[in-house]
């Protein structure tokens, strides 16, 4: 998605890409840094733009950035006149950002949340915003060989900047740069977030966003977790949320659960696929009725983007950063099986029976862990796009494409579990 907006006062088109859109003008144009592919995807049947004398005299096709290739239709329709009414109209099939933002994403270098920054960066760039992603640690680290980091060239191709470093040195790393928005998608406690928050505050960042966790909600017998519900007082994320609310006038916290999506750093659906394609039983602790929320990561990036583009509405709020449907653990196994077009055998076991291996045995919490995105829907007008049955089909296609179905794997803990189920337990 690309925005086309132009600042009427700018004489030189090269400077235009950094200019902000005049909100009153629906017919102004901004030529952003576009890759040839993204431009060709945009249909430009007609263009309407206001023309000012300065504009008409400065725009020439040769002065446009090199990557900006024009379709013949576009150049044909581009006629400028000094009269106030445009002689040709030009509509863009793209969402136009209300205001271009400079966004910094501080991203973790591993784990389930890593992929959030990747999608968010790409979506922001697609909407015409300026993006810098600071990944914690070293660019040369082995961690960078894994997705989504291995695909960071996509961020660069989209016009974003990628840098590496430690949050303690953030002021140095980003010296001279200013940002409108910062997203901390790294810290789980105040020690990790404070340096980022303090630097952001001192450098005049307007909006601070934080990736927290729905895991901080206190367990309840009345699901779902709704924003405002009691949280575990000693959780690191809770201390961060509190600090941010004290430091920033405009802040928001996003509490995610589990996510699927290409570029994920941590296994989610793969855990099920690994077993299903090998004809192995899928061991699920407890009854399998536990409800959880597994979202496509694009839901998370779209919610974050909504907050960036609606800062006043988002300010001071907690958002459960999840899709709007829960699935049971058994249900997830069944959906993965359907997506793979293969049968599944689910076996239930008592995690207590396998002792300390229980934690590593299964990638999800053994309890109802179910939040609903009510604040995002109410306050930001956000809608979920996750469609697990369809999304899992795509995920399975990629799973096979990368050859993971043929990979040799051992299932030591699974084997232990299955063994333990064969032995009759004396009462």
């Amino acid at each position: 998605m690309v925005g086309f907006i132009c600042n009427q006062n700018t004489a030189n088109v090269k400077e235009v890409s950094m200019a902000t859109l005049l909100s009153s003008s629906s017919s102004s144009l901004l030529f952003t840094n576009l890759s040839p592919q993204s431009l060709s995807q945009i249909s430009l049947p007609s263009l309407s733009f206001s023309s000012s004398p300065s504009l008409s005299s400065s725009i020439s096709l040769s002065s446009l950035p090199k990557r900006f290739s024009l379709s013949p239709t576009f150049s044909k329709n581009l006629s400028l006149s000094s009269s106030s009414s445009s002689s040709s109209s030009f509509t863009v099939n793209a969402s136009i950002a209300s205001e271009k933002k400079k966004v910094l994403i501080v991203n973790t270098n591993s784990g389930g949340h890593a992929v959030i920054g990747f999608y968010f960066a790409k979506q922001l760039l697609g909407c015409g915003h300026d993006v810098t992603i600071l990944t914690v640690g070293d660019e040369s680290s082995d961690k960078m060989k894994k997705p989504p980091f291995s695909r960071f060239s996509e961020i660069v191709d989209g016009g974003g900047k990628t840098v590496w470093g430690d949050v303690g040195a953030i002021g140095t790393i980003l010296e001279g740069l200013t940002f409108d928005v910062v997203l901390d998608n790294n810290g789980k406690d105040l020690d990790a977030v404070r340096p980022v928050a303090d630097w952001a505050k001192s450098s005049g960042v307007g909006q601070f966003l934080f990736i927290s966790s729905a895991g901080i909600y206190k367990q309840t017998e009345e699901p779902p977790h709704v924003e405002g519900d009691a949280v575990k007082a000693d959780a690191g994320h809770v201390a961060v949320e509190k600090y941010l609310s004290e430091v920033f006038d405009n802040w928001a916290s996003f509490r995610p659960q589990y996510m699927i999506g290409s570029g994920n750093n941590k296994d989610c659906e793969e855990w099920f696929f690994d077993r299903i394609v090998r004809g192995r039983p899928v061991p699920i602790p407890g009854s399998g009725m536990q409800l959880t929320n597994i979202s496509h990561v694009k839901d998370l990036s779209s919610m974050l983007t909504k907050a960036v583009e609606n800062p006043t509405a988002a300010s001071g709020n907690i958002f459960n950063c999840v899709s709007d449907r829960a699935v049971t653990l058994d249900g997830m196994a069944k959906l993965c099986s359907k997506a793979a077009g293969l049968p599944v055998e689910i076996v239930h076991y008592d995690p207590k029976a396998i002792g300390s291996d229980a934690k590593k045995a299964f990638p999800f919490r053994n309890m109802h862990f179910y939040a609903e995105p009510r604040a995002a829907k109410d306050i930001l007008g956000w809608q979920s796009a996750t469609n697990l049955p369809e999304d899992l089909k795509e995920r399975f296609e990629e799973y096979v494409k990368i050859g993971r179905d043929k990979k040799t794997m051992t299932f030591d803990i699974d084997d232990k579990i299955i063994e333990s189920l064969k032995v009759p337990v004396s009462v």
Partner: protein, 385 residues
């Protein structure tokens, strides 16, 4: 008239005097639903003033209620009368046309009794339905007890100028799914036990009449004739363990009858509700185990002993060992919230407390306690251990 109706509403209908000790703080008005969790809620666009009815300024209408003398209709008809509408209840007359609500003042009851009208008949007698309704003419029909589409046809035929047909359907129409909650756009099950409700909705849609269909989940509250909370209260009062099938983490959802009645009022004359379907129930869901504990809190009972069992190991004959479907069953009420501003007021424990204080706690209930299936379950458990 509407304004006076609202004032009366606050004063008469909802000012119940609980006879037993209320678990709610004393400043709590018996109607207002105090939010159970007092932590700061996120900023909301839709703000409902507590206890206010937000009566839509609809002029007085001639309203027919199919049913109205057992549970939902009792609360709904009171609200309608207090709003100044002319309300007729169509029933066979098996239950008393009017009965005082627990805690209701004589003044309020008499005011209601003097205004409510009754049309005696069997709704399955389609000819009678058609002629009697045509003779009377009604602006709006609330169909609270309709089960089959055929029952609705004569009503529509009799009232060609009907302004709105408001139907009490059921969330039971939803097709079982691995993805929850059920939303109004989800697939429905044409083979479900509630297919009559589905067929009725389809008929209303096909006839082009201005209809609104409400799909409640499990309804609870004083005068409930379905043993929902009563089932737990019987066991809690008897100091018996509560047998719950399988894991006890099955998630269900209860909606207070007073919230449901208010929702029915909210859709009256509401253009936004035209030809729409709404899930109406509580704001949160609850596990079976959680519900047992919530009932205990509501009645001031100690925490119950819960016994889980595998229903497949038993043969209960025709008897139901547990009053809920043994599966997850809950629906999102966000559509009604977002589009109509319908926000349930009762939290679970406070709603169950209201039910206990006004009904079971006063010694009233609909079904006698029957612990025969419990004893089968507990008997076998005893043997195993």
């Amino acid at each position: 008239m509407a304004a006076a109706g609202v004032a009366t509403l606050q004063h008469n209908f909802f000012k119940m005097q609980p006879s037993s000790v209320s678990l709610l703080p004393s400043s709590h008005s018996s109607f207002c639903g105090t939010k159970f969790n007092t932590s700061v809620q996120y900023k909301r666009k839709v703000c409902q003033p507590k206890g206010a009815l937000n009566v839509t300024a609809s002029s007085a209408k001639k309203i027919l209620v199919m049913g109205g003398t057992r549970f939902i209709g009792i609360f709904l008809s009171r609200l309608l009368v207090e709003e100044g509408h002319q309300v007729t209840l169509f029933t066979r007359g098996k239950a008393p046309i009017t009965q005082p609500l627990p805690g209701e003042s004589d003044e309020a009851y008499n005011a209601f009794k003097s205004k409510i009208l009754h049309l005696k008949g069997d709704r399955k007698d389609f000819d009678f339905v058609k002629t009697s309704l045509a003779a009377e003419g009604f602006d709006v029909v609330y169909d609270i007890n309709g089960r089959e589409a055929v029952e609705v046809e004569p009503i529509l035929d009799a009232l060609p100028k009907l302004e709105q047909y408001i139907y009490c359907s059921s969330a039971g129409v939803y097709l079982k799914s691995d993805l929850l909650p059920h939303c109004e756009t989800d697939a429905v099950d044409p083979k479900s036990r509630h297919k009559g409700k589905l067929e009725t909705e389809a008929l209303l849609e096909s006839k082009g009449v201005n209809y609104t269909s409400i799909r409640p989940v499990y309804i609870y509250g004083p005068l409930n004739y379905n043993p929902v909370e009563e089932w737990f209260f019987h066991r809690l009062k008897a100091g018996r363990p509560i047998p719950i099938p399988n894991s006890g983490i099955q998630v269900t959802q209860l909606g207070h009858v007073k919230d449901l009645a208010k929702a029915f009022i909210k859709v009256l004359g509401n253009e936004k509700a035209s030809k729409q379907v709404y899930n109406i129930s509580g704001d949160r869901y609850v596990t079976f185990d959680g519900l047992a504990r919530a009932c205990a809190k509501a009645g001031g009972f100690p925490e119950p002993e819960i016994v889980h069992y595998n229903p497949k190991e038993f043969d209960f004959g025709k008897k139901k060992a547990f009053p809920f479907r043994d599966q997850h069953f809950f629906a999102s009420v966000e559509k009604a919230k977002a589009e109509l501003g319908i926000v349930p007021e009762y939290g679970l424990v406070e709603g169950l407390t209201d039910s206990y204080n006004l009904d079971f706690g006063r010694g009233t209930f609909r079904k006698e306690a029957d612990f025969s299936t419990d004893d089968i379950i507990l008997g076998k458990s005893l043997v195993l251990s």
